[in-house]
């Protein structure tokens, strides 16, 4: 079983469109949407939810006004500025360390479990999908990603699947690192813009740090062919393979509007490029398939 994680650094470079197409092209796989902040893969794969789980993680402080003597110990020690001058807890600022509860001489602070979201095991026309919704404004996205990854891993082991295909989140922080754990291959989707190049370098530093084999895909490569050549040259000099280039295509937003993976929506050049990239991914992982 091989785990492929699709990430990008910069948002909106095409991770989800590529993952949905991989869902069509790969045999014997489970799909995972690790962009728990703003999960979109379900909009192309149309899952039917089979299992629904509540995700509880972390705690939030609550001050009982009847017991509170307004001594100020909690405010003095809270490093998250989560306690207001009138001794209310700002739930968005509280990081659940519990220090206030421990220092309160009146026992007025209790720590309550947070329900931060839900995760689902679903069926789709292309195979199982594990996905999640983190409630807006919540913390612990990294932990929810770890939970979703774990569930997908179990699913893959139970049914002896060949691939776990992970749609990652943008950025380089907590959820991205959590989505990379145990990855056999990281695919970084970039675009030939200065922002794309800048963010590619930063996310590459992360995959390099964790020692994860990494390949690059250049989406909308024809928006700036000079930058595309620059990315290819830079990557070559760093020993990172560019697996393919995908041309800009207005059929991409059209396929999203229709709610269909691009390779099912069209046979155009962009779709063909994704097919070629999938074959290259399989070759990388030593699992070639008859095409």
């Amino acid at each position: 079983m091989k785990t492929i994680v699709v990430i990008s650094g910069k948002g909106g470079t095409g991770k989800t469109v590529i993952c949905a197409s991989f869902a069509v092209l790969a045999q014997n796989k489970v799909l995972v949407d690790c962009d728990v902040d703003a999960a979109d893969l379900h909009l192309l794969l149309h899952p039917e939810i089979q299992q629904r789980h509540v995700f509880q993680k972390g705690q939030t402080a609550r001050i009982n006004p009847k017991q509170c003597t307004r001594c100020g110990q909690c405010r003095e020690h809270c490093r998250f500025q989560a306690i207001s001058p009138d001794f209310h807890v700002d739930k968005l600022a509280c990081e659940g360390c519990g220090l206030c509860a421990r220092v309160c001489p009146a026992g007025a602070v209790s720590m309550e479990e947070n329900t931060c979201g839900e995760w689902f095991l679903s069926g789709t026309a292309y195979g199982p999908l594990v996905h999640a919704d983190l409630y807006p404004g919540e913390e612990n996205s990294g932990k929810l990603v770890a939970q979703v990854r774990e569930a997908a891993q179990q699913e893959a082991e139970r049914f002896n699947l060949d691939y776990v295909i992970v749609d990652g989140s943008p950025g380089i922080g907590c959820p991205v690192i959590a989505s990379l754990s145990g990855a056999d291959l990281a695919l970084i989707v970039t675009e030939p813009t200065l922002s794309g190049i800048h963010d590619l370098e930063r996310v590459l530093a992360v995959t390099r740090h964790f020692g994860i084999p990494t390949r690059v895909i250049i989406n909308k490569y024809d928006l700036n062919e000079v930058n595309t050549l620059k990315i290819e040259a830079d990557q070559r000099s760093q020993g990172v393979d560019v697996l393919g280039r995908i041309p800009f295509s207005t059929l991409v937003p059209e396929s999203i509007v229709r709610g269909v993976p691009l390779v099912e929506h069209s046979q155009n050049e962009a779709a063909q490029a994704i097919r070629d990239i999938w074959r290259a991914v399989e070759a990388c992982l030593g699992q070639s398939s008859p095409v």
Binding site: I172, D199, F248
Partner: protein
């Protein structure tokens, strides 16, 4: 006044809008890039950096001469960042939230705090379209660090509220975004008219309603996709303040780091009009909260 520019989905054009607004207005502006995982605004604004400061998180370190391995620090740590063995105290700085509980509650005062570098804060300045000086702040998280919200708090510590503050927020809908936008008087949401854009816009609107921040929408690439974002906005009485049509020319210039107002000077007036509408909405809101 603080105006934040956000979007659930990445790559919708937050930075294009935030930098466009910043360059177009004739106010005394401070621009803050809170997307510390992937800061890109500097590519378009090209500020002269005048000060650079390393940002560290204070993390615990046990002093073996005082530590009796009692295990209190491990017990009070809500983040599993401390493990006490029979030989020593192991600290995992990348898991630490720097709440200070272990140090404060250690019965033998055996814990000191040492700085753990997580990123850099940079200050600078540039000139807007009218020649006025604009002050610039951004943070850059070191790859493999996860303390995104902490670094955002440090960046926000540089707020200059004598100026009009424009904040470029990170993508997503969870804790880093909340940190970035929670003290704004107005949040401008940038989206695209596709099911992805709509789905993530809904999440952001739910978040902004919960934390009661007035908001309006910019629809980028407004002519590629469908009408559902427009319908959603009109049904929910969310003003659409600007529509930016798709243009291959803009996309190509963007790829070279050229700001929207330099590609098409007509956008200077359009951004000024957006700001007038925001100002009116904020004044109205202010009036109602005073009543």
């Amino acid at each position: 006044m603080i105006i934040s520019v956000a979007s659930g989905k990445g790559g919708t054009g937050k930075t294009t809008v935030a930098t466009g607004l910043t360059l177009a207005l004739e106010h005394n502006i401070q621009f803050i890039d809170c997307d510390v995982e992937e800061p890109n605004a500097h590519i378009f604004l090209k500020p002269t950096i005048t000060m650079s400061e390393k940002i560290s998180l204070p993390v615990p370190q046990a002093d073996p001469s005082r530590c009796v391995l009692c295990g209190t620090c491990q017990e009070v740590c809500a983040y599993n960042a401390i493990a006490v063995t029979s030989q020593e105290v192991l600290i995992f700085p990348e898991l630490c939230h720097s709440c200070g509980a272990c140090g404060l509650l250690c019965p033998h005062q055996a814990i000191d705090e040492v700085p753990h570098e997580i990123g850099t804060l940079e200050l600078g300045n540039l000139r807007g379209a009218s020649g006025r000086e604009i002050s610039f702040v951004h943070g850059r998280l070191n790859p493999r660090e996860i303390a995104t919200p902490y670094l955002i708090r440090q960046v926000k510590g540089k707020y200059d509220t004598d100026r009009l503050v424009i904040v470029d927020a990170p993508p997503g809908t969870t804790c880093p975004v909340v940190q970035a936008i929670k003290d704004s008087q107005f949040c401008l949401l940038v989206t695209e008219p596709t099911p992805f854009g709509l789905h993530d816009l809904r999440l952001m609107v739910a978040l902004l309603q919960k934390i009661r921040i007035p908001h309006g929408v910019v629809i980028n690439r407004c002519d590629i996709g469908d009408q559902q974002v427009e319908s959603f906005c009109s049904e929910n009485k969310i003003p659409v303040l600007m529509r930016i049509p798709f243009s291959l020319g803009i996309a190509r210039m963007y790829s070279r780091g050229i700001p929207l107002i330099e590609i098409d000077r007509g956008y200077i007036q359009r951004f000024q009009d957006v700001f007038k509408q925001i100002e009116q909405m904020v004044l109205k809101q202010d009036f109602f909260t005073r009543m």
